[in-house]
Symmetry: C2
Subunit: 405 residues, 2 copies
């Protein structure tokens, strides 16, 4: 008998029929003698519909009120699932973010959890209830409703699992685990039975949208074993756990790619203190997230500076930098939207040399030019021409011995 | 400068355009220097849609969970109105039932308010916020969400007005006040400028669906002046207030009629203790509300007993009584669905005799047969054939001097 947290995403609760399937799955775990806490997202599409509605009211809806509006999505699915379980004669109770004492900071729309009371949940569990919690939501210390940002239900689930010391946190989703590469691009991709928190963090940051990155940070911090698995099958998925000796020892555990990237280059920028601040402050003011930044020194006290942003922010960022270029006297500004980022990730890199050179050699072997490079302790990313993205994934997958037999 | 509570019903917030109109109306009161607390219903139709959804899950949804589900309706409109006011640069804040400390008993679906903290609302008002409260909802002492039953937002509004000692509670609705009769039936009906709590209580009970009856009880208990007026015009409506000397002195203030009634008669029932209990217990068990009950004594220790129920409960009640009749040995059971109730209401009756005889004479003058009679201190109701309902309203309206000139 274990204490299990089960999180179901929007696709898994998209309609009453699917909510019924979720109820059956939850009931099965409960019947096996487990204590179960369920965390739900809103029905697929509902959060977007609510945001659309708010945007019809005004282009910049008040963030506090937007959170009150969005919180109804998860409140609805939590009530419906608890109702469904009750109708099947299971003792279920819904609980909302504030009722579960998910205390966050006041940063509406992307609040961070600062404390979880969890007493109410523990009390309900002790009475052998199935607890159905609305994900994505919490409240600030003054009792205002807050939301945790896109994918926030993952974080709700992991945070609750940590707070109640659950044995495992199951994330049910529309994929059946973490793959060595996107199976749509690389047919030889295989499902990993386990992956470390650090690798998952890198891969989440690289566009593998299986888990919200903050939920992985949380899982790592509190050492919560996370099981990513399919809502639609009984098969085991991928365990996201602490790196340890029992884990499959791969040098590289995954190849990821992300086409949602574009670069902007400022040529012949005066290489002196304060210039970088002038380039990036207006970008930050416009709430544009910058991914990679690379600076090459040229002769004559001049430098070239390149950075990448997501494609949706490209035009705006380019416009801003054209203005900046005039002010700082850069020679030229240009951009390129037809690029992609390909990355290899693996904790094995810490102890193995030669990963970078193998990556560069493999890409060169296919005549794929590398435009930019960035690295972390367990990841190497290359910016290449967008049209080569799929090819790059496949050849790297093979080169690093990830192809299934 | 006053402290005003303004309640807007489902039709007034049916879509974003109407919510904008509500915002403009609220803003106007605020600009005049008033402190304003707004209470909202869900968008017209939304509560029904949510109930339908719950009924798709199960025929008898868990009541606690149904309340969690239904509460999303008012949460949505409160967030949207606050957002709209903010976008117009007004300092608005939404507040939900539990946040406003609307403490109710645990009777999910038709909870009664037992306490209102109101500190949070007062605090927000002191900071010159427009407070936008979700109506219809509260929470029990353990923090579970409860709802107040159909029309419950009226009660929320009056209760809040009482708790914060508001100068007036404006109920904005799709009619422009309380009329001496239904204007659809009696074209000479006129709008009353004022009506007493007691008269309003009688008229609400008689099917004038302008105010939830419990809101009137609340208003009477705490002496809250209620102004019933139209959302769609600036015109003054009807004040529902304590009976006092300044009030227009009419003997009768209104003629109401209700076609949603049907009668069931048990003939030749043995007139002995316990028989009435045998007749009405199974009706109560079936959750059927009985309106009028009349018993006529016959000779030979036998009696006839007639009662009325709403038309939707008629077949079920008849079926039940056929069974009962066998058990208690009544000679015959029969029913009649083609009846209506016509009532005259007025506090003036307390000091004027002759109202009843005038009513009976007037109906007799049109050859309208009276099937049943029931009275209260300030009301006389007659059951007549349904087809005469409109005629009866018109002739009584004229007879009691209510026709407008």
């Amino acid at each position: 008998m274990s204490l299990i947290v089960q999180k179901f995403g929007g696709t898994s609760v998209a309609d009453l029929k699917r909510i019924r399937s979720v109820a059956e799955r939850v009931a099965k775990s409960f019947d096996q003698g487990n204590d179960v806490v369920v965390i739900l997202s809103a029905m697929a599409g509902v959060t977007d519909d609510l945001i659309d509605m708010a945007n019809q009211v005004t282009v910049l809806p008040d963030k506090r009120e937007l959170d009150v509006l969005l919180a109804t999505g998860e409140q609805t699915t939590a009530a419906l699932l608890a109702m469904t379980l009750q109708s099947m004669s299971y003792p279920a109770k819904s609980i909302l973010g504030y009722q579960a004492e998910i205390i966050t900071n006041c940063n509406h729309g992307s609040a961070r959890i600062v404390k979880i009371g969890a007493d109410r949940i523990k009390e309900l569990i002790e009475k052998r209830n199935i607890v159905v919690m609305a994900g994505f939501q919490g409240c600030d210390p003054e009792g205002n409703i807050t939301t945790l940002g896109r994918g926030g239900s993952d974080t709700s689930a992991v945070a609750i699992a940590a707070a109640i010391k659950a044995d495992t946190c199951e994330i049910f989703t529309d994929v059946d685990g973490i793959y060595t590469a996107d199976p749509n691009v690389c047919e030889k991709a295989r499902k990993l039975s386990a992956i470390s928190y650090d690798e998952m963090l890198e891969m989440s940051g690289l566009g593998a949208k299986v888990l919200q990155i903050r939920s992985v940070e949380f899982a790592k911090k509190y050492n919560v074993p996370v099981h990513v698995r399919s809502s639609f099958s009984e098969e085991e998925g991928t365990m996201v756990v602490n790196e340890d000796s029992s884990m499959e020892r791969l040098i590289v555990s995954g190849i990821t790619h992300n086409k949602d990237t574009a670069r902007i280059t400022l040529k012949k920028v005066l290489d002196q203190p304060g210039v970088a601040a002038k380039i990036f402050s207006p970008i930050a003011d416009a709430k544009i997230l910058v991914d990679m930044i690379i600076q090459n020194t040229r002769a004559e006290g001049l430098t070239d500076l390149t950075f990448t942003v997501s494609k949706k922010d490209f035009s705006k960022a380019l416009e801003i930098e054209k203005q900046v270029a005039k002010e700082i006297g850069a020679e030229k500004v240009f951009g390129d939207e037809s690029i992609a980022k390909v990355s290899v990730t693996g904790v094995g890199m810490r102890s193995h040399s030669g990963v970078a050179s193998k990556m560069f050699t493999t890409l060169a072997g296919e005549n794929i030019n590398i435009i930019m490079i960035s690295t972390s302790e367990i990841r190497i990313s290359c910016i290449i021409e967008e049209k080569y993205a799929e090819l790059a994934v496949r050849v790297l997958h093979k080169a690093f011995g990830l192809d299934k037999d």
